[in-house]
Symmetry: C2
Subunit: 417 residues, 2 copies
């Protein structure tokens, strides 16, 4: 099987690791830009297409600013994400506020910034009205329940805490209309890390069908449908990246067949991807510091679950390239482990790799999304820095590493002096 | 089934929640002290018994200080935990440094503080010597591999990344002795959240047997054995808390039968429990803010995985008491969920509870260990405060809640102004 290529040349990674202490996350600006551009080009037929980047994937203002320049908005799920987006100038309808179990205060903050508010539950119509007042534009999150299969990662929709049922959706739009809301959106999110383009076409068809039915039954004309995020990335070698064109072609055909004949054109289409926007364009660079041989063979590195939680938390696969040994045969089988006192702190289990020596640099692939952002400080581990490889080849520190002062920031030691 | 009692009177919890915004962790000083006292009393027959509290469970200096007053030391696994312990005066042999995949810098920090260094691997003898120099006292962590069954939680020892094999252990002590090390310890950790006292007696027997064999074969006289931690707590109603006396009696009998006859008395015994020291004496207090009825019924609360990760990460059971409804019949079945955009952000699934209204206070039991310390900031969620109910009935803020400034502390927004 061909080695999975890194987004950044290994020689460049080595050069950067000579200058910055490991571990660190390293993002490739060029890759992020060209991918966002590809997505937007694929949907160019839909004038008002917008990708709202799921901030939670990589909540770094420098990354948000790049995606903003590429025409993306922000999908925010919390007050902190609203503020982060605002700091880089993403406000108003460039922001979709998709949260659940939302406190009134966060709705107020979203409304104050003019964000599109996406309600997760039928009871939130009254809750939003009572605490904050209804905005002119309101969106609902639809949970198809048993009417739709979820994908493997996200699970069955009927087990998900999110969204409204079909019946509640109609009831909800009726209520909103009666209360004077003028503009409407419809959202769903039924996939995560899905690599089959047809899945997203089916989602579009589901929402288009609803748009038609909602117009007919409730006389509510939707302004947009949000297909959600969930476009997957090829974590494993041999997996194929999704072709945005295939999704777009299928969605376009459905649009022509369903939306235009119903007289509902123009209907805007949005997505809120996180993983595919930054995931493949970030690597976690770490250094091997120990080798161990007991009942199994281990390579200990200087990163841990503080830097990347997915393998430990979900058993997720992340490819690993040993820098300088890209073409060396994978003749050893090892667990690549971090230093947490948790036996699930392993980046790889029984992984075939070239022989690794202490000091070798390892690049852990696809750590650009849900990587740094999911890290915890358990065991007193500070989280690492984030670096950006710019298009001009320079390197920019876009988040400093944490220090002990950061770890202890909420503690008061006064009485122990 | 009888309701599982809270460590703190529900009326007191309600009073505190009137004063402090939810969610918060609330610890009971009296409970922590009396439990630590019970453990120390149980092992009073062993003059030099010491419990090294596993700092990672609740890395709060105010909690460490209480345990220090009760005679406990600190089990540290990282530089941050060494510093935290030092701040409350825990240094020297009151600290056991049990880490793995350890960087040289952390060994240096441990040695500088005079901590007992527990080596996780045979290669670390040479590594420690080369980078830091060998201290007078060195301990090894033993991994029995297939020679011992682990328990359900910790898994099979042979799949664990920790420790030395039996053969390496003998080789290790020989090498240390040759290099002039004078004092020796032996450690293992083969259980987590274990409720069977006999398990710990078996662990003691395993270590005593090794102590005898090491003395005979390598002429190394161990100064202490560390049984590790792993004493479980009754998370579920109907489970019985472990009786420290039962563990102690069994360990004492083994000591009398194995250590004294071999002429190895006095041999100190240590443990490094975290969970049982603070777990039952902390509750996560949160407020219901939403009710939702779709394909299942949900209660949304103002806490989330930022505050307690165990249910979402491991599917762990944490009992929930609805304050003021302790005696109300559990007539509804609900998922109790937080607001993360992760469907595993659920504190309980299909839990039978009394009907809950928005505004009701929920106390999530047994959140005093591996609760706050495992929280992450994913989705931009600030972590909550920690409060201590003191023995005199007063309440002390022992960690403030995080703010947005904390969440953004490692970012530089200068260029976005």
């Amino acid at each position: 099987m061909a080695e999975k290529p890194l987004p950044i040349d290994p020689a460049i990674i080595r050069r950067i690791a000579d200058e910055y202490p490991t571990p660190f996350h390293l993002y490739d600006e060029r890759g992020i830009r060209s991918n966002a551009h590809r997505l937007n080009v694929a949907f160019r037929w839909c004038e008002s297409f917008r990708e709202y980047f799921a901030v939670k994937a990589t909540p770094n203002p420098h990354i948000l600013a790049i995606l903003k320049e590429e025409g993306c908005g922000a999908d925010c799920s919390s007050y902190a994400e609203l503020v982060l987006s605002e700091r880089v100038g993403l406000v108003g309808e460039h922001v979709m506020f998709t949260s659940n179990d939302t406190p009134a205060k966060e709705y107020a903050e979203a409304k104050r910034r003019g964000a599109i508010i996406n309600l997760d539950d039928i009871t939130h119509v009254e809750y939003l009205e009572r605490h904050v007042g209804l905005p002119e534009l309101v969106c609902f999150r639809y949970n198809p329940g048993p009417l739709r299969e979820g994908n493997v990662i996200i699970g069955k929709p009927e087990d998900a805490k999110y969204g409204l049922t079909r019946a509640q959706l109609f009831e909800g739009y009726r209520a909103l209309k009666k209360k004077g809301v003028k503009r409407f959106g419809l959202h769903t999110m039924v996939a995560s890390n899905e690599l089959n383009p047809q899945f997203f076409v089916e989602t579009a068809k589901m929402l288009f069908e609803l748009a038609v039915e909602i117009a007919a039954k409730v006389d509510v004309r939707l302004e947009f449908v949000n297909l959600g995020g969930g476009i997957g990335i090829p974590y494993r070698p041999g997996q194929k990246a999704i072709d945005y064109g295939e999704i777009s072609d299928g969605v376009k055909a459905a649009y022509e067949a369903m939306i235009r004949p119903a007289g509902l054109h123009p209907l805007a289409i949005c997505m809120e991807n996180g993983r595919c926007m930054t995931g493949p364009y970030g690597v976690l660079v770490t250094r091997a510091i120990h080798k161990k041989d007991i009942y199994k063979k281990y390579v200990g590195v200087d990163a841990c679950m503080a830097n990347l939680m997915r393998p430990g938390m979900y058993g997720a696969y992340h490819h690993i390239t040993v820098i300088g040994k890209e073409d060396a045969p994978a003749t050893t089988t090892v667990d690549v482990v971090g230093s947490l006192c948790e036996n699930n702190d392993k980046f790889a289990i029984d992984r075939k790799l070239p022989p690794i020596e202490s000091g070798d640099l390892l690049a852990i692939h696809d750590a650009g999304a849900h990587g740094h952002s999911m890290g915890f400080q358990y065991n007193g581990k500070p989280r690492s820095a984030e670096l950006l490889l710019r298009e001009d080849g320079s390197v920019k520190l876009i988040r400093r590493a944490e220090t002990l002062d950061d770890l202890f920031a909420t503690l008061d030691f006064a009485e122990f002096k």
